[in-house]
């Protein structure tokens, strides 16, 4: 187990990258603490799989270095990095039994048989696959196959990091939560550094202590699930995380204050900087109906179970609000209130208000 440092990492699949757009990874500087549970979250094509393959050694970055416990491993092949990786589709050795599958990484490294048997038994117990150890791996169901590929990653006790590349993609929905909680439990037991790549916010937020959000080859925010939810550093994070995502509304900055549709809006704290394109960010959870405030007309009400999502028009801009209990009718005239503590200004996408008193 080790601390992983990515320093000045850039990668391009093009042989001669010209502009920033040629880079799949633009500039990454990151520290992954020893024993942490991390999620790498972002939409398809944001570069998260590229980053993962660079850490595992399947790709050599165009620029920059990777350090495991301050040792440079940038040039090392995957088998010398002591890492484990679980792929999107279960990769198992079809012709072997489950037991041989689990023992495979150890046998390849010349571990003695007694030790192998002990480790395999341990891992099988953790994964609840003890009763299928002698089954041919090709006969397993997809979720069990994926368990075995995870097991192959965990069976070595000297791994620096275990990486998961969207491991639940092919798993049936009703089994997903089971495997997810299994993973969480495994992390608490083995305390290995784990990196979990996904585009699904629920998976990321339930698994990880720290979530790294990526967009277009850049890291936009690193934080705990609560931090990402409460104080997105970038409108992308606000929009991508949460359901529905944060309201991002066009705003005008004047005299140290922000106005939306011509009306002043109270913010969490002081505005920093000048110029650029400014927007307001407020989560639907913090939009309430009030007797006075922004005038709006209800356009759509959708009942999503425990609460309702109300979409109201302020001028020509739609604002969403999450409402528990009674909801106004469609077409009704209402007043909206933004909780100041959770209302922020963003400049060119990045946060531009200070934390208030």
């Amino acid at each position: 187990m080790a601390k992983i440092t990515l320093s000045n990492l850039r990668h391009s699949y093009a042989p001669n990258p010209q502009s920033a757009d040629d880079y799949a990874l633009k500039q990454i500087d990151l520290d992954w603490e020893d024993g942490g549970a991390y999620a790498l979250l972002g939409p398809s094509g944001c570069g998260k799989s590229t980053l993962l393959n660079i850490i595992s050694g399947l790709l050599v970055p165009s620029e920059g270095r990777i350090l495991f416990d301050d040792r440079d491993v940038t040039g090392l092949p995957p088998d010398q990095r002591n890492i484990a990786q679980v792929f999107q589709f279960p990769v198992i050795y079809d012709t072997m039994s489950v037991r041989d599958n689990l023992a495979f990484p150890l046998r390849n490294r010349g571990v003695e048989e007694g030790r192998i048997a002990q480790r395999v038994a341990e891992i099988a117990r953790m994964l609840d696959v003890e009763d299928m150890l002698d089954v041919r791996a090709s006969h397993l169901s997809p979720d069990n196959k994926q368990k075995i590929s995870m097991g192959r990653g965990l069976v070595r006790d000297d791994v620096n990091v275990v990486m998961f590349d969207e491991p639940l993609t092919v798993i049936d929905p009703h089994l997903k939560w089971k495997l997810r909680s299994k993973l969480k439990e495994l992390h608490q037991r083995v305390r290995a550094t784990m990196i979990y790549v996904t585009h699904d916010q629920t998976e990321a937020l339930t698994f990880a202590d720290q979530v790294v959000v990526m967009q277009q080859g850049e890291v936009v925010q690193i934080g705990t699930p609560v931090e990402l939810f409460e104080r997105p550093q970038h409108t992308f994070v606000g929009h991508f995380i949460g359901s529905p995502g944060m309201n991002v509304l066009p705003a005008v900055q004047a005299d140290g204050r922000a106005t939306f549709q011509g009306q002043p809006v109270a913010l969490e704290g002081k505005i920093t900087g000048q110029g650029g394109a400014t927007e307001l960010g407020i989560r639907p959870e913090f939009v309430t109906f009030a007797d006075e405030g922004l005038e709006a007309r209800v356009r759509k009400v959708s009942d999503v179970g425990r609460h309702s999502v109300v979409e109201a028009m302020v001028g020509d801009t739609a604002v969403k609000a999450v409402v528990e209990g009674d909801v106004p009718e469609q077409g009704a005239a209402v007043h909206l209130h933004f909780a100041p503590k959770h209302t922020r200004l963003y400049r060119d996408g990045w946060i531009a208000t200070e934390v208030g008193p």
Partner: protein, 287 residues
């Protein structure tokens, strides 16, 4: 999944009629001959299973059958591993891959008697490139019209030349379809190249190899034209394979009864061995 539909028979009917016309009538003719004796003039005498007995007991048939099995066995153990090795050493992508595949497929598209003629020209002493190289440059006496061993080596090399590409093409198609994740996982698991082959590539190649081996078995077991054009079954009877012997009996000696009985035995052996191959190669899946 599939729906029950009796009308589907109408879809199959044209195929059924055409193949039946080509298969059933001739097979019936063969069966008919196989149990009768004729001296021409369309006069037939009931012969029972005498021809079958005679064929099954004849040394000539045993010898031809033995040669046939030896030939098929040799080309299978050469072509299948060689084809796999070549497919494994081809790059997965690249501008040269399609060029290579086209060149490799070329021998399979040459009419079979041209293949025989081409190898004849190629191996002639003094005139052929191979014949010249062996006799005049390397000083190895090589003349397949005189020496049975030389004749055997020549027909084997010819068949390897002609058909190994089929195994290459099939195996290559199988290899390309293996997702990258398997190779990456194997790298991370620290697997050696041999283990990658044994536990990833070979299992994934099983389906295509089954097809390749079956096709190579059927076609090599039925081989006639190439060998006939090249050696005529000689020197002596040393390269008289089953088909060549059959045609000699049927058209050369016009012994229709024995030829028909031999045809049926021949066909039955082909079916039986194909079925055995198929069952053996797919038995793991059934478990």
């Amino acid at each position: 999944m599939k729906t029950e539909n009796a009308k589907a028979w109408f879809f199959v009917l044209p195929v059924l009629l055409l193949v039946a016309f080509n298969a059933l009538v001739p097979i019936m003719t063969v069966v008919n001959y196989s149990v009768q004796e004729t001296f021409g003039n369309n006069v037939f005498f009931w012969q029972g299973l005498d021809w079958f007995e005679q064929i099954l007991r004849s040394d000539r048939f045993h010898a031809a059958l033995g040669r046939q099995f030896l030939f098929t066995f040799l080309i299978l153990i050469i072509e299948v591993p060689l084809g796999i090795i070549i497919a494994l050493s081809m790059p997965k992508k690249g501008i040269w891959v399609p060029v290579c595949l086209v060149l490799m497929a070329l021998p399979m598209l040459i009419p079979w008697n041209v293949v025989g003629a081409m190898w004849n020209i190629f191996t002639l002493p003094k005139i052929g490139l191979l014949g010249y190289l062996m006799n005049d440059v390397l000083g190895i006496a090589y003349d397949m019209t005189q020496n049975p061993l030389a004749a055997w080596i020549t027909i084997i090399v010819m068949d390897v030349w002609h058909w190994t590409s089929l195994v290459v093409l099939l195996a290559y198609a199988g290899l390309v379809s293996i997702p990258d994740a398997y190779y990456q996982a194997a790298k991370i698991d620290g697997a050696s190249p041999w283990k990658v082959f044994r536990y990833i590539q070979l299992p994934k190649l099983k389906t295509v190899l089954t097809i390749a081996i079956l096709l190579r078995f059927m076609d090599s077991f039925n081989i006639y034209t190439e060998v006939f054009v090249l050696t005529g079954g000689g020197p002596g009877n040393s390269t008289t394979l089953l088909s060549i012997d059959l045609v000699k009996i049927a058209l050369g000696q016009f012994d229709l009864g024995p030829a028909a009985a031999m045809s049926l035995i021949y066909f039955a052996i082909t079916l039986l061995v194909s079925w055995l191959f198929y069952t053996l190669m797919t038995k793991d899946d059934a478990k």
